[in-house]
Symmetry: C2
Subunit: 211 residues, 2 copies
DNA sequence: GTTGACGTACGTACAGCGTACGTGACACGC
DNA sequence: GCGTGTCACGTACGCTGTACGTACGTCAAC
């Protein structure tokens, strides 16, 4: 028996195996051994199916929030939970990121993050700003990591940087070794630590002004 | 006479006017009043055309780098130059971000940024890490701003947050006013300042250890 | 037991897509 | 005049999303 969940699962499988471009209604129907139009009994259209994919992926984030832990540690955990899911569904990440979905699946992480930031001592305005900075950083990092790489950082460093003309790009040439190496986890944690520590300083300032 | 530049310009025009989904070879050919296949005399395929679009948009970033200015100010300027171009070609931003292009157009910003970070006193490793953090933050911010909104932040805040069940999402409900308001420029500058100041601290530490 | 309604799977059909291929018009060096 | 190239173009193929009509199951009411 066909079902929405089975269709979404098949879509995720196809995306992870063959990339987001390979997704077509016919492809997914074939994957499930059913006719194309049968899918439309459970999913209104392709766009909605991709939304469902994004939502499903997002809902699988495992937030093992420990209220007893220091809030900085909780921020780290939450950020890494995002990274982990992107690692688990690398090729779905771009799908998740490129669809602006409005659902409870998307709101749960926000809820958790705001709670943590409130515990850190930020008021509403600051908490939201901090949250947005974090989200921006995480999303940008994941895009680089997933290889969609919006940036100029070395996607295929060996090729990109090695061929650079030192006269035109002296810095890029000089820093080529560092540009080529890219331990995604290390890079992510570097920026994460940067942000968390900055946040800690701000939290103390806020507490100081207040009390 | 048809030319690669005219084709790319037409593609950008179509994207900005009707969105990236509206781009098709036929659509662009019609825009230029030529046959579809004529395009292929100047562009190998659609993918290459979109790459050219990304490259063209990227190359229009205006880096008015002032070597006399303090490096923190130069970092700010460069980051804002990115934001400005995304503002100028909002609907092309997703195209730029989603194609990993390897070209000099993409390397120039990296060159400038590395030079600035070197002036700040960072060695190669640190400079590259800092650069990556900045790129991640900028890319993530622009995605939110452009409305492709990878995040859960309020794309359509009035709708999204207003309907939230306070019992399920107490924090989101409580912070609704702050979540709803989103002055993109202000948010961007907040995070930018956060990063620049953190960077300044690091730079001092690095200088201290060194000298 | 018959009838009708309903949900589900399916096939057909259509407009649109990217692009491989062939054709014809024109400009050039010989 | 005659290859040889470049460029615009038309046709055609296999793909896409999906509107529509159809056929077969199950279940309720009579």
């Amino acid at each position: 028996m066909l079902s929405r969940d089975r269709i979404v699962a098949a879509a995720i499988a196809v995306i992870e195996r063959e990339g987001a471009d390979a997704v077509s209604m016919r492809r997914i129907a074939a994957e499930l051994g059913v006719g194309v139009m049968s899918l439309y009994n459970h999913v209104p259209n392709k766009s909605a199916l991709l939304d469902a994919v994004a939502e499903t992926v997002l809902s699988q984030i495992e937030f093992t929030d420990d209220p007893a832990a220091h809030w900085t540690q909780r921020v780290r955990m939450q950020a890494r939970a995002f990274r982990q899911i992107a690692h688990h569904f690398p090729r779905c990440t771009m799908v998740v990121v490129s669809r602006q979905l409005r659902s409870t699946a998307g709101l749960l992480p926000v809820e958790r993050a705001l709670a943590t930031l409130r515990d850190a001592g930020f008021d509403g305005r600051e908490a939201v700003q901090m949250l947005r900075v974090f989200i921006a950083y995480i999303v940008g990092s994941l895009l680089r990591e997933v290889g969609v790489t919006p940036t100029f950082a070395p996607v295929r460093p060996d090729i990109a940087v090695a061929e650079v003309d030192p006269a035109l790009f002296p810095m890029v040439s000089a820093f080529a070794p560092d540009l080529m190496a890219c331990d995604h986890e290390e890079e992510f944690d570097f920026g994460l630590e940067l942000l968390v520590q900055t946040m800690a300083v701000r939290a103390e300032q806020a507490a100081g002004h207040e009390g």
